[in-house]
């Protein structure tokens, strides 16, 4: 005899109103608890009989017959389906974790706008002048002029400039 609480949970399970953990637990128990499963079957029968057109009801041995037939079937595994499911779960977990992280960071900066997450300081740091590796000021002025003029007229002779474009622009800017 199953206790009243579990019987009431079964009744709620039949109506699809039980929460996931409880529903899962009951189904797990029904795998080994014959009495619980018998009660489940009785509730299902009552539900069918109360309907306006009960139709055909499976006899008590129906599930056992299917189980016996399945026992003779070879066990075929489906590695792809499992792997896909697992991958989906991992991806969804990773996505949820990322969203949670973004929410924490954004929430924190919104709650404490004057502290570590000061956007102005970040902007200044990003646009600070980069250190130049080329000592432009030390290049001879006449030589610079020559290079610029050469670059401007080199195309007439069908030749490429001798210096990289960036270098020339840098010289022009300095002039």
């Amino acid at each position: 005899m199953i206790d009243e609480k579990r019987a009431e949970n079964l009744s709620a399970l039949l109506d699809g109103t039980l929460g996931y953990p409880q529903a899962r637990k009951l189904w797990k128990q029904m795998e080994t608890d014959a009495e619980l499963k018998a009660q489940w079957d009785r509730y299902n029968r009552i539900s069918c009989l109360l309907g306006s057109n009960p139709g055909v009801l499976p006899d008590p041995g129906f599930a056992a017959r299917v189980s016996a037939a399945i026992a003779h079937e070879p066990t075929v595994l489906a590695p792809h389906a499992i792997r896909r499911r697992v991958t989906e779960r991992v991806l969804s977990t990773a996505l949820a974790a990322s969203l949670a992280m973004v929410a924490v960071v954004v929430g924190k900066s919104m709650l404490n706008p004057g502290t570590s997450g000061n956007p102005l300081q970040v902007a200044q740091a990003r646009y600070a002048p980069l250190p130049t590796s080329t000592p432009v000021a030390e290049v001879d002025a006449d030589f610079q002029n020559y290079l610029v003029m050469h670059n401007e007229t080199a195309y007439l002779a069908g030749a490429q400039g001798l210096l990289p474009y960036a270098r020339v622009v840098s010289v022009q800017t300095d002039r």
Binding site: D15, T17, Y20, W40, R42, Y43, V66, I70, V76, A81
Partner: protein, 191 residues
């Protein structure tokens, strides 16, 4: 969604080679599947055979089930095809009064397709209906209203709570107690 999650978990277990998980899927759907089959096939024994065949076909096809649709819609599809094939096979044999497939599909309740025309079938149906009606009438008002709204009108617990002006927990308890009371009256049928 909860039901689909439970199905998905059971399907994965079957796909990993756990046949016991398939027994649970049978327990979950045997009533719905036999009811579905009985819309197509009038003979109860044949209907049960077709339902059984549908489950076995589903088991064989499960390794290729990728979860693109819900398990139960996939299972329903297999069942309908199995029932149609069964009718088609019978149609090739000498006629025994089987109905047309399309007619069966359009026949929502399916009551005409069942074995009610025989005297035994009719007697059983009438007796059963009488017993159930009496069991319902003997219930206290609040239990009868709750179970009727649930089973006949298909209302959710929230809707019943609203209709009966009581908490959802009370609805759940009333429906449970109604089922218990009916079960006692029908016990001899389940033996």
């Amino acid at each position: 969604m909860i039901e689909e999650d439970i199905d998905a978990e059971l399907v994965q277990r079957v796909q990993r080679g756990d046949k016991k998980a398939f027994d649970v899927l049978v327990s979950r759907y045997q009533y719905k599947i036999t009811q579905l089959v009985s819309r197509y096939i009038k003979d109860p024994h044949e209907a049960l055979d077709v339902a059984q065949e549908s489950f076995i076909k589903a088991y064989r096809a499960l390794p290729s089930f990728r979860g693109e649709s819900a398990f139960y819609t996939w299972l329903y599809r297999i069942t309908i095809n199995t029932a149609k094939n069964h009718i088609a096979t019978r149609a090739r044999r000498p006629s025994d009064g089987e109905i047309d497939v399309e007619e069966a599909e359009q026949f929502e309740s399916g009551s005409r397709l069942r074995n009610h025309e025989t005297p035994e079938g009719l007697l059983m149906t009438e007796e059963l209906a009488e017993i159930i009606q009496k069991a319902l009438n003997d219930l206290p008002d609040e239990l009868r209203t709750a179970i009727t709204l649930r089973e006949f009108d298909g209302l959710s617990y929230d809707e019943i709570a609203e209709v009966m002006s009581c908490p959802v927990g009370t609805v759940r308890s009333r429906i449970f107690r109604a089922r218990e009371a009916i079960e006692k009256r029908l016990k001899y049928l389940f033996a």
